[in-house]
């Protein structure tokens, strides 16, 4: 893949909730610290159509925000199933960029960079983007769980299913990386 390779279609791929399971870590820290908020620990199923912030008492919002600012939060996230295998396959046909809205959480830069190096070593650092508004990305496709970012993006948005976006109908949807594999390599 050369620096000037403009021929292949470009796919930009979000990190949190798409290749990195930030929500599971968030939920786990919340349940650990506030075991008495609900009769049972909060689960992904409880979030159907809602962000975590909408599912917990407003008095917990500051705590949810603080988890993100913890230096190690983004360093040890679980990898979304099949993401490394499928992205490596997609690289044979597409130019793959990882594009995270990391500017929202500046303390996450190093952890996110190191996490990518560990789990996606086949992505060159030239193809990693930490940004804010994804309107700045020049790509043919953006795979993202955030409808707001897909709305700002100028190519074709592909909505990666996460609990918060299950009711969104404005974009082509993939529920997991196997479906993304079929979509792009069929």
């Amino acid at each position: 893949m050369s620096f000037f390779d403009h021929d292949r279609k470009v796919i930009a791929v979000d990190m949190d909730e798409v290749i990195a399971d930030a929500l599971a870590e968030h939920l786990s820290r919340y349940n650990r610290d506030f075991p008495d908020d609900f009769p049972q620990p909060l689960t992904l199923a409880n979030l159907h159509g809602r962000r975590l912030w909408q599912a917990v008492p407003p008095s917990r919002h500051a705590a949810l925000d603080a988890y993100f600012r913890n230096d190690d939060f983004f360093r040890h996230l679980a990898v979304m199933p099949d993401a490394p295998r499928v992205l490596q396959r997609l690289q044979s046909r597409y130019e793959i960029f990882i594009a995270s809205a990391a500017m929202e959480v500046p303390s996450s830069f190093t952890a996110k960079y190191d996490w990518l190096a560990e789990h996606f070593p086949f992505i060159p650092t030239s193809h990693i983007v930490f940004c804010g508004n994804k309107s700045i990305l020049r790509a043919d496709f953006l795979i993202d769980d955030n409808p707001r970012q897909l709305g700002a993006f100028h190519g074709e948005g592909i909505l990666f299913t996460s609990p918060a976006n299950v009711n969104v109908t404005d974009y082509r949807r993939v529920n997991n990386w196997q479906e993304a594999e079929s979509l792009f390599l069929r």
Copy 2:
């Protein structure tokens, strides 16, 4: 400026040698640490047409690289003359993104972010991009001192003069921010 403002032309602006004087800091550290390499301290004029790496003995390259990895290198750089005033004026007519190839020096993320917050507080974090290959930027213009990045970029490249690029003739050139102001707001 709304999240979905797609109407205004977009200008992406590089950091080092365009709004931040990384070269002056680099030169100053080099002259401080290796005063005996040359009869006189190395100056910007000595670099005419060359990068700093090409102007010093190869035995010093590791030292030059190491300066970049120092956490505070990018935190205290001088601001290029007129850059804040002109960029703030340009914001009234254009959408301005700051786009740095920070992935080449991951240790620079926090310093660059904090430096921008100090000197360019009018740039929202949604409009800051740390990337590698600038082919990923969707912008109408890129103001950059690096011909390689302008070559990868898909919009119109504007070459910001730095000592290393004085012989490059492939792009429209601005020698300073006053010239950029005239070009974009004439």
